[in-house]
């Protein structure tokens, strides 16, 4: 179990943030939230989470911009990114992965699958 590993959830939908937050908290992760892309980059820079769960469709700065921002910054470029998005078109998946996302899941999602993917990413980066 990755006790206390920090995970940043970035999603403009508060229900999704709270739902995923509750799931991760119940599995002993330290959960932080950001409601938009700009806040995500700010929090990621200061917090240096072990992983970021990132939505793609957000106001102001979308998920693709956030991946770019994270990869441009030496301090955050190594943080694994798991995309959790309603976008299910192949071109969006390919674009996210090409920009540097480490994994991609579509909403609606299976809770156990999300946990398994998070564990795999944290295991790999750790």
């Amino acid at each position: 179990m990755s006790v206390g590993t920090r995970i940043l959830i970035v999603d403009d939908d508060p229900v999704i943030r709270r739902f995923v937050g509750a799931l991760l908290h119940a599995n002993d992760y330290e959960v932080h939230e950001a409601a938009d892309g700009e806040a995500a980059l700010r929090v990621a820079g200061s917090l240096r989470p072990g992983l970021i769960v990132l939505d793609l469709v957000m106001p102001y700065k979308d998920g693709f911009d956030v991946i770019n921002g994270l990869k441009d910054d030496l301090q955050t470029r190594g943080i694994p990114i798991l995309i959790l998005s309603v976008k299910d078109r192949e071109e969006d998946v390919v674009k996210a992965l090409n920009l540097g996302a480490d994994d991609y899941m579509t909403k609606p999602f299976g809770t156990q699958e999300l946990l398994a993917r998070i564990r795999r990413l944290l295991g790999r980066s750790g």
Binding site: V15, I16, R18, F19, K107, F109, G110, T111, E113
Partner: protein, 410 residues
Amino acid sequence: MHEVLIALILGTGLLLAGLTMLIAGNKTSREVREALDRRRRSLLEPAVFQYAQATGHRSIHDYLPKPLSRRDRRLTERILLDAARIVKGEARDRVTAAFEALGSVRAAIQGLRSHRWWRRAEAAERLGLMRSRTAVDPLVAAMNDPEEEVRIRAARALGIVRGNTSIRPLVRALADPSRWSAIRVAEILISVGDEAVEELLLAYDGLPHHARVSVLDVLGRIRTLKAVPLMRRSLKDPHPDLRARAAHGLGRIGDPAFADDLLAALRDPEWPMRAMVAKALGRTQAKPAIPALCEALKDREWWVRANAGEALRALGPEGRDALIRMLDADDTYARHQAVAQLEEGRIIDEYVADLGSADPARREAAVRFVEKIIALRRVDRLTQQSIENTQEAVRSALAQILRRSPQEGS
């Protein structure tokens, strides 16, 4: 007179003040209710999420305060509806189980019997979100509701609930155009996807003609290989529109293995069928279809020629070479269709660019190609390029060829 006026002003003032107080009171009461709901929701939500994310057999009631007030029940239902759109799999099944345990499914089923049609429509929609199998029979009954909106929401709900018992009435609805929009029902069946295929195939032979057209269309759009035997058989159906739908469906599924069946169908006596087959051959990416598609460029019907041309263009370099060869065909229709497709595919532009190439062989090939295009009177784009092309060498070469080349029929 003054007294009447003063009374009138006072009366109006009092009325306005009363109305203002009423509106303010209403707003305050609504805000208070919403604030209480938010506060209560923040207490209930972690429990509901914990239930949805858990594994095991504990009921939603084990996670909620007891006794459950009407407000708590309403808020819990709202939280469950939010969770329902986020999760799938086991967590989604637990959400459905919670709706059943809380009595929400039963209440919504009762809502289907409301005297007000919008309540019935809302109930049908909620039952779809709840995805409870116990709602299937009432939803099937609601498909006979006198109000169309209720019928369509019940159909949509059945599409979400899925399972054979849900799909069967949707397939039957395709057969009753007096009560159903076939397009809307077809969209629902397409959204169901693979799970609808078996019922569609089973029902096909017993359906009237117009419903069979819809079924072939739905199966093609689901792109299921299970429908291939039916579509192959339907390519030889006595009804031309069923043959055309089958060809369209095979094209959407897009396997080159269908090329032989489609090639045989390209000789169909009905031109709409030939047009559909030509289009389908392009989608299957079957290279052996190229000679037959070249022949189809000579068809007497414009749609057949246009679809055959597009199909050749879709077949990559081999199709493009075939189009170029067809510039020398003995059939005027075929030559003109080939040049139209080469222009549409910007292949003419590629040759025009080669007029400025440093390689003499490429330049010579480009000159011969452009001369053929001019001979076929397709000069508008070439004339435009001779003025606007960014390369001086291309502009002057084009202008020179345009001046000296004769045009077909001139």
